[in-house]
């Protein structure tokens, strides 16, 4: 499986993270999204006429939507990641798209200089974070730590990157204790990998020896 990837992209990271958690090896091809805009090159447009990243190629299958990539990886390797009912998963995959348009765009504005109505996208992002915070609190009351149950699903992986990277777009996560607990739970899943801006849980690794 080949992933056309940009290391700073939240959507590309969703796919790298899902593959890592499932123990799937991806052949990662780095695309110079910024500043070269190689995702709009003739070669990439032949592969994906929409000119977006990530692109996942599995034999004859070419996927260009990260939600479909998560479904594909889970279906082939560990169907429990699809959740018990798609009715609980699909709304959160749509929600992840909304997060990408709000918090994701705020981050692209601040980090890569994209043109955006920064006040509006931050306001939208905060409204969505409050919605997720309330849902995760209610999940916790019911003994569930993840968006769609007691175990993580593709819904969590889809929503995690743009949420965790919100501070890059000038949106603080300090007001959302349930979201922070949820992020800790995701970062505790065996096989978790980091990306620039999202670090692993150091306390899970043994302390380095002191040479004193």
């Amino acid at each position: 499986m080949i992933l056309y990837d940009y290391v700073l992209s939240a959507s590309c990271y969703k796919v790298r993270l899902m593959a890592a958690l499932l123990g799937v090896r991806l052949e990662v091809k780095a695309v110079n999204f910024h500043p070269a805009r190689d995702h709009k090159s003739a070669e990439m447009l032949r592969l994906n006429p929409q000119g977006t990243l990530p692109v996942l190629v599995d034999g004859d299958l070419v996927l260009t939507q990260s939600a479909n990539m998560l479904r594909h990886l889970a279906r082939q390797n560990a169907p429990q990641w699809l959740g018990e009912a798609s009715g609980q998963i699909d709304p959160w995959l749509d929600f992840a798209g909304e997060l990408n348009a709000s918090l994701g765009m705020a981050r692209l504005h601040d980090v890569l200089g994209f043109d955006a109505d920064i006040v509006q996208v931050r306001r939208d992002g905060i409204r969505q974070l409050r919605k997720m915070e309330a849902h995760l609190a209610e999940q916790r009351f019911a003994g569930m730590g993840f968006l769609a149950g007691v175990a993580p699903t593709i819904a969590d992986i889809a929503c995690f990157p743009n949420t965790a990277l919100a501070p890059d777009g000038g949106v603080s996560l300090d007001p959302y204790p349930s979201i922070r607990l949820w992020m800790r739970a995701i970062r505790s899943v065996p096989g978790f990998v980091e990306m620039p801006g999202i670090h692993r849980l150091h306390e899970l690794a043994p302390a380095p020896e002191r040479s004193r």
Binding site: E138, P175, P177, H202, A207, S211
Partner: protein
């Protein structure tokens, strides 16, 4: 975890023994937020360069200089901090005040509100105080954390038998009213 009290950023952390600590949210080395750091045993380590601080706030290890005993002058700002009835209380200045009793209540959730603590208190027809007993059937009680002129956090508790989802949704509604958003 991060917190903000009267304009001061605070890092609140719990050692392996369960002891809670409230420190200024700045590493004395490069100013990184200590709330991004990580706890191992009874020490807090900064995420930036790994400087480690003891429970008393003193720096006890600098990984880049493993053989150096850090001077006693390197220390985090510490505040007094106590835990009572599942609520953590922080005092920025020395005080003899006891933590208010919240016995018999159960924590629901903490909501940050885009309004001053005074505005939240007056919405419920009360003077601003550390705790607001709202007199609802569920005995909803708010421990009010003033953050700055425009923000506070309401740590909500209610009767142990109350449906926390109902309480949470009621609080969301109250927040919309306080912030003046369309309900």
């Amino acid at each position: 975890m991060p917190g903000r009290i009267d304009g001061q950023d605070i890092a609140i952390w719990r050692g392996a023994s369960g002891q809670v600590h409230a420190w200024g949210d700045r590493c004395p080395h490069r100013g990184m937020r200590l709330s991004h750091g990580f706890v191992r045993g009874e020490t807090l380590a900064c995420i930036y360069h790994g400087w480690q601080y003891d429970a008393d706030g003193g720096c006890d290890h600098i990984p880049a200089h493993p053989n150096l005993v850090p001077p006693k002058t390197i220390c985090a700002t510490t505040y007094s901090c106590a835990e009572s009835d599942d609520v953590i209380w922080v005092a920025l200045r020395p005080t003899d005040e006891k933590c208010p009793s919240l016995a018999g209540l159960r924590g629901v959730r903490s909501l940050t509100i885009d309004a001053a603590a005074e505005q939240v208190a007056s919405h419920f027809g009360q003077a601003v105080n550390a705790i607001l007993r709202l007199g609802t059937a569920d005995n909803i009680t708010l421990a009010l954390q003033p953050m700055d002129a425009d923000h506070c956090t309401a740590h909500a508790l209610s009767d142990a038998r109350a449906d926390r989802t109902d309480v949470s949704r009621w609080l969301e509604h109250q927040r919309r009213v306080i912030e003046g958003q369309p309900a």
